[in-house]
Amino acid sequence: MKATVLVRPKSGILDPQGQAVESALEHLGFTVSAARVGKVIDLEVDASDAATARAQVEQMCERLLANPLIESYEIDVRA
């Protein structure tokens, strides 16, 4: 199974990288606000069904991929 994890800075956490991206986009003439920068982690998981794969990836997020103090995550699993 393939899985994609989206890790985001939690709301309320100062994201200076997002602010820098926002200001660079404004320099290019775009009108944007509230830019936030996170991470994408693509995985191939050895699991027979989506539910098992998701349960494994949740464990990975809790134990390594995200720090719950500052980050939230979303998991997408597909065949």
Partner: protein, 231 residues
Amino acid sequence: MAVPQPRIGVVMYPGSNDDHDALWALAALDAEAIPVWHEQPELPALDAVVLPGGFSYGDYLRCGAIARFSPATAAVREFAQAGGLVLGICNGFQILCEAGLLPGVLLQNDSLQFICRDVRLTVERDDLPFTARCARGQELVIPVKHGDGRWFAPPQLLAELEAKRQVVLRYAEPCNGSVDDVAGVCNERGNVMGLMPHPEHAVDPLLGSADGALILASLVEAARERAVALA
């Protein structure tokens, strides 16, 4: 009877780069400084452990996030849980936070810039094995050099830590965006401490300040007391 030299280990991770400075500074302060390779699943007989600065495992994912799975880190965790003295400097502080041995987390500096300069710090605790040679309220000048030194804890956790007096050092002026200007914290038991500034780079006046020696000599002295107690 001769006073024993305390044995203080310095863990060397792939990407550590202040390990030799820490070994040198501890030896200069009359400790037996012992390198500990990150693959060692057991620590040698030690009276204290230092996790040094650097960029362990390339700082991949988050600073310190990978190093916490090293065999040596597991051994350091056991050592700390048994009451052993553990000091994390810079990347070592980040590793201790990621490992859950210290509260909070270190984020990218609010300026997005790597900060490399002397900073003024205020000592909040002088009753710890790491600060016994300092006085509460004393100002120390010690260099920082980090890109990810913005210590953060959510408001409720921060309030708990302040109430339990776990903030040991604060920047005397804003440095990297840390909440409450926190520069160093300890665990509740007071045997594990982490700080972003580098005391090992400030043990000789020739290097601009010897204030770092107050922290490291406190550690050496506390480790010596433990060595004497065990002898």
